[in-house]
């Protein structure tokens, strides 16, 4: 599937100013940075099936306002090493390793979706790491299909279990399916129905690699959506209530976006930490910082004004 056109531009997208890596108990995590290395730090944690380059427009906006933005790829995602085992707790620990490599002082942290949920866990256990915490639609309060009855949920869990075991049986043979840039973008569109094809094609060029057969997403093919075990979304709210640092939560109110937790304002407000702030937008989808980048960047910068 030869293709001569190997790059795509996207308005405002900027290649990281610096790249590097961090060691998490022998596993290499890829780091990307934007902005003045001497500026105050904000760490950004991406969501599931994303990678740090999904911040290619958002991060430069924050950096240009006087911040050093550092983001890393989760294990098995983007340019980080593929792992033998994956799990929520391991991701949280990887975040700690990355943060400790960036600064010995408390920093500002921002997490989107699963990344935001994992930072809730981390900052409940290690509150002194953060000066402030911004959570972009990563406040789970219910399963993402709240209208599914228990029996159907059990059937889905069984199917998920079998598929997961089958996939791990074949893990040494699994590869990501090759395609053109346009083809990969089209296949990702169902996960990101509110994002433009132009953006998704750009994402392919930074989140996939090209070989003789075409482009393939870098993410480890053994990974799949779901597979959370006994984890309950509501457990995250306990972590939210326990936070001690200044907090800004931003919720998407779009209920038909296939990704995201679909939490409502009334689900979250009772658990806000003291002084915590919650913004709710019923016309912006789960990928708020990509769909309305300037608006969300301005909101975050306004919240962070006193932390510069």
């Amino acid at each position: 599937m030869p293709e001569n056109d190997q790059t795509r531009d996207f308005p405002g997208a900027r290649t990281p100013d610096r790249t590097g890596s961090v060691d998490s108990s022998g596993l290499r995590l890829a780091l990307n940075e934007w902005g003045d290395p001497g500026a105050p730090v904000i760490a950004m944690v991406h969501g599931g099936f994303d990678f740090s380059r999904t911040f290619d427009v958002f991060a430069p906006m924050i950096a240009d306002a006087g911040w050093r933005v550092v983001a890393w790829d989760a294990r098995g995602h983007g340019d980080s090493d593929r792992a033998d085992l994956y799990g929520w707790a391991a991701d949280v620990r990887d975040h700690l390793a990355a943060i400790q490599s960036i600064s010995t002082e408390p920093i500002v942290m921002l997490g989107h979706s699963k990344g935001g949920g994992q930072l809730l866990d981390l900052l409940d256990g290690r509150p002194s790491l953060a000066r402030a915490f911004v959570n972009l639609d990563g406040l789970p309060s219910q399963f993402s299909s709240p209208d599914v009855n228990d029996r159907e949920r059990q059937r889905m869990r069984r199917a998920d279990l079998s598929a997961g075991l089958d996939r791990r049986r074949r893990r040494n043979e699994l590869t990501r399916r090759p395609d053109t840039i346009e083809g990969l973008a089209q296949r990702r569109q169902p996960m990101n129905p509110r994002l433009s094809r132009e953006w998704l094609e750009y994402l392919v060029t930074v989140g996939a690699h090209q070989d003789a057969e075409g482009w393939r997403w870098k993410i480890d093919p053994v990974l799949h959506l779901g597979g959370f075990g006994p984890w309950r979304p509501g457990w995250s709210l306990d972590h939210l209530a326990a936070l001690e640092m200044p907090f800004l939560g931003v919720l998407s109110g779009v209920q038909d976006d296939p990704m995201g937790w679909k939490s409502r304002r009334s689900d979250i407000e009772p658990f806000l930490p003291p002084g915590g702030r919650l913004e709710f937008f019923d016309d912006i989808g789960h990928f708020l910082h990509i769909e309305q980048t300037r608006f969300i960047a301005d909101l975050v910068l306004e919240f962070l004004e006193s932390f510069r």
Partner: protein, 216 residues
């Protein structure tokens, strides 16, 4: 007999599966507790089993491989047992402690390949309890390939095990099983999940040797 060992592929790692006794028929598969490893010889309580007696070292335990940078979950280690099922076909499982928890999970996930499971006492039976324990996040030094892997001990002693989650797997087993009592609790240590399983109407309780004999 002196145990013999075969190694099964498990991604980039390998799993050690020991044969403790030869025999004809369906194998009895022993799953050890957290931080433990397979017995070096056939335990006396398996003496009535006519088929082969196998014992698996979980990832990060015994003679099995150690992953880089942890990532252990009971659900992930179900695939260790599934690797045995892929090679040896249907088995009956005796799980001790943590192995009892994984034994229940894999029995529910691979109902056609697990012909009965016995849940018995052993280390790591409680995990992190029914609710997530107090958050504790720390980065350990890189793995040394020594077992038990410290990350296994850390992560598999903190995973939540809600009773209703355990009962989901009980339902999966009971819905599909062709035998009358496919889950037998022999454990005397009863964390909430084990107590819930033992209380289920489709589950019976027997002493260990009788439990094994019930699947012969």
């Amino acid at each position: 007999m002196t145990r013999t060992t075969e190694y099964l592929p498990n991604g980039r790692l390998r799993l050690a599966l020991h044969t403790l006794a030869e025999g004809e028929g369906r194998p009895l598969l022993l799953l050890h507790g957290l931080g433990e490893h397979s017995p070096l010889s056939r335990p006396a309580w398996t003496s009535t089993w006519k088929g082969p007696v196998l014992a698996l070292d979980f990832t990060g335990h015994g003679d099995s491989g150690v992953p880089v940078s942890g990532g252990y979950t009971p659900e992930g280690l179900m695939s260790d047992v599934d690797a045995v099922l892929a090679v040896h076909g249907p088995v009956t499982i005796v799980g001790r402690g943590f192995g009892a928890w994984v034994g229940l999970l894999i029995a529910g996930a691979r109902t056609s390949l697990v012909h009965g499971v016995v849940l018995f006492d052993g280390s790591g039976v409680s995990g992190g309890g029914s609710q997530p324990p107090t958050p504790y996040v720390n980065v350990l030094p890189s793995s040394t390939n020594a077992t038990p892997d410290p990350y296994a001990l850390l992560e598999l002693s903190r995973d939540p095990r809600p009773p209703d989650y355990a009962l989901e797997y009980v339902r999966f087993v009971l819905e599909d099983s062709e035998i009358e009592n496919p889950i037998v609790v022999s454990a005397r240590i009863r964390p909430e999940w084990m107590a819930a399983v033992a209380s289920d109407i489709g589950v019976i309780e027997l002493p260990l040797e009788e439990a094994i004999a019930s699947f012969s």
